[in-house]
Amino acid sequence: MSTRTRPRAHPDDDTTTYREALRAGLRDALASDDRVFLMGEDVGRYGGCFGVSLGLLEEFGPDRVRDTPLSESAFVGAGIGAALAGMRPVVEIMTVNFSLLALDQILNNAATLRHMSGGQLGVPLVIRMTTGAGRQLAAQHSHSLEGWYAHVPGLRVLAPATVDDARHMLSAALADPDPVMFFEHGSLYNAAGTLDPAIHQVDLDRAAVRREGTDVTVVAYGGCVSKALEAAEELAGEGISAEVVDLRTLRPLDDATFVGSVRRTHRAVVVDEGWRSGSLSAEIESRICEQAFFELDAPVERVCSAEVPIPYARRLEEAALPQPAGIVAAARRVGS
């Protein structure tokens, strides 16, 4: 596997790709704290299965950019152990699909050791991985399982959607005393944006309003944020003003930001690349209903992946995923 593009020619020199922003964040972390090391399958010689860590082995050496065997449970568990011993490991799992081979370590150890030890132990570990569909990789390489991790107390779950978050979330994650799951959407690696020179650090506790609006709140995260923005643009053409909230952190959720937005717009559409049943979108919808029920002018709408393992065939894959047109239609249905 692995999606890799050649270093792209930037339209102008100011833009950075999501991949480059992540790499800059990693480089910073490795350079500024010698407790930090990166390990995972093909992070070194190959340069990372999605090219994120390309060049870091040459820069920091094989002790700090460690290729591992295909042993997800062992190397994630080893990351947990090293974190217990005072290191600040960044563990890369190629994709969320393979994180299931390490699920036992993540849930039964990383997320619980602090509690089980009565607060004596902490696991300051960052586990990065790719998530999401859109590249015809079929049902074992396309799922969005970050919502499962967001179910688990003891974990923090991040979903950077912009180049600024890709650039700066890692250092904030490494400063967290607890395990952080870091989800990079596979369709974003080549997305380019301009880094805001004013941003040097980011707050992991706040969702962000990516576009202001007055008629409907569209809540999205990760790979769906750009789809929500695209939908908002189209809605604007119809005279509908959509506010787009990027969750950024999937656990703990920043209710105040999205519920606050709904209180202003009185309508909400929740977009989630996970399956609808038992999803993060269900959690968000229920928080909106719990906290702003009487402010709503219409039932909350959800745009999620169809309840099917993601198929290979292009037409079916497109039909299975949230798309801007579906978000637009949902926004119309809530009567905005």
């Binding site: 692995s2 399958e41 190959y46 295909l70």
Partner: protein, 354 residues
């Protein structure tokens, strides 16, 4: 050199002599010559099929992750000589060769690459998920190591029913590092399950060389530690592969439990279409290409006087026509309408929900 196979034989195998004495080409071929011609035809089909896939990928006719088997054809073809219809096969994402050697028609495999309804997985799987229940071909698994426990279960079912079938599981040297391999090897040996473990040791797991992922690179020796017969085979020599597989399966049918074959082979192409192949020296690749299993067999047959230029030409034409036909059929085959999206989720269609 970090890239050598474990044990004593380092680097590409030595050039080999033809293993059998064949008579001159005559209209009535000896059974051995006929068999060799069939082996050659099967390997050529896989080789040319995948070369066509590269072209189609470049033309964006097929998508997703595509992993080529080019260079490893002798393993699939050799092992399949020893399997029959009642047996089961479990494979990986690098499975075009296994699928074709199993007898899945090239049309069905090609249509799957196109994501068409006539594909062997109805377009839902793509290159990495080829299935054919009738041929007992259980995928097409793209979770490294994911097929191994399935193979143990298939074999367990046969065991419980008293069937003399075997289950053959293909996997890589990288998969050998996964817990699932070690758990399955122990289980199969413990319960005496008829699993043929075929480890395709092509020296790399993506960009990670064998010696960078295994402290002990003699994989057959390690497999033997689980209490099963295990040995290494020259995976570039289809006759050696066939002989090893026949020996293992004969003994398994007689009830001797799992066997492990470490097939020492090499992939000539990058890991997948996305891989810029930066992690291995070019001369290493060139060195292995001199042991190309397809030209190796053809040369041997020529030396033995059972293959001439005309016969090889003939074969190439047949294979190419078969692939042309598969491509044409795939292009013309229908795409599944988006309304069908929710099919095949459960056995009860009325429960599928958007």
């Amino acid at each position: 050199m970090a890239t050598a196979h474990g044990g004593t034989s380092a680097g590409p195998p030595k050039a080999k002599r033809p293993r059998r004495a064949h008579g001159p080409t005559t209209p009535s071929r000896t059974p051995a010559a006929t068999h060799d011609l069939d082996l050659l035809r099967q390997m050529l089909l896989i080789r040319r099929f995948e070369e066509r896939c590269v072209e189609l990928y470049s033309a964006a006719a097929i998508r997703g992750f595509v992993h080529l088997y080019i260079g490893e054809e002798a393993v699939a073809v050799g092992v399949h000589q020893a399997l029959d219809e009642r047996d089961a096969v479990v494979s990986t994402y690098r499975e075009h060769g296994h699928a074709l050697a199993r007898g899945i028609p090239p049309e069905a495999v090609m249509a799957e690459m196109y994501g068409k309804t006539t594909g062997c997985s109805h377009g839902r799987g793509g290159s990495m998920h080829l299935f054919d229940a009738d041929r007992r071909f259980y995928g097409g698994n793209a979770i490294v190591g994911g097929g191994l426990p399935l193979a143990a279960g298939l074999a367990l079912a046969d065991r419980l029913r008293g069937e003399s079938r075997v289950t053959c599981c293909f996997f890589g040297d990288g998969a050998f590092a996964e817990g699932e391999f070690h758990e399955t090897a122990n289980l199969a040996a413990l319960w005496g399950l008829p699993v043929l473990f075929v480890c395709e040791n092509n020296l790399y797991a993506m960009g990670t060389a064998l010696a960078r992922e295994h402290a002990q690179t003699d994989l057959a020796m390690r497999a033997a530690s689980y209490g099963m017969a295990a040995w290494a085979v020259d995976g570039m020599d289809v006759h050696a592969v066939e002989k090893a597989a026949r020996g293992a399966i004969e003994s398994m049918r007689a009830g001797s439990g799992p066997h492990f074959l470490e097939m020492r082979t090499y992939r000539f192409r990058a890991h997948s279409m996305y891989d810029p192949d930066r992690y291995r020296p070019k001369d290493e690749v060139e060195g292995w290409k001199r042991h190309d299993p397809v030209t190796g067999l053809a040369d041997g047959m020529r030396t033995a006087g059972v293959l001439d230029a005309a016969a090889l030409d003939d074969l190439e034409h047949q294979v190419s026509a078969e692939i042309d036909h598969a491509v044409r059929a795939a292009e013309q085959a229908p795409e599944e309408p988006a309304e069908d999206l929710l099919l095949h989720v459960t056995g009860r269609p009325e429960e599928a929900e958007a």
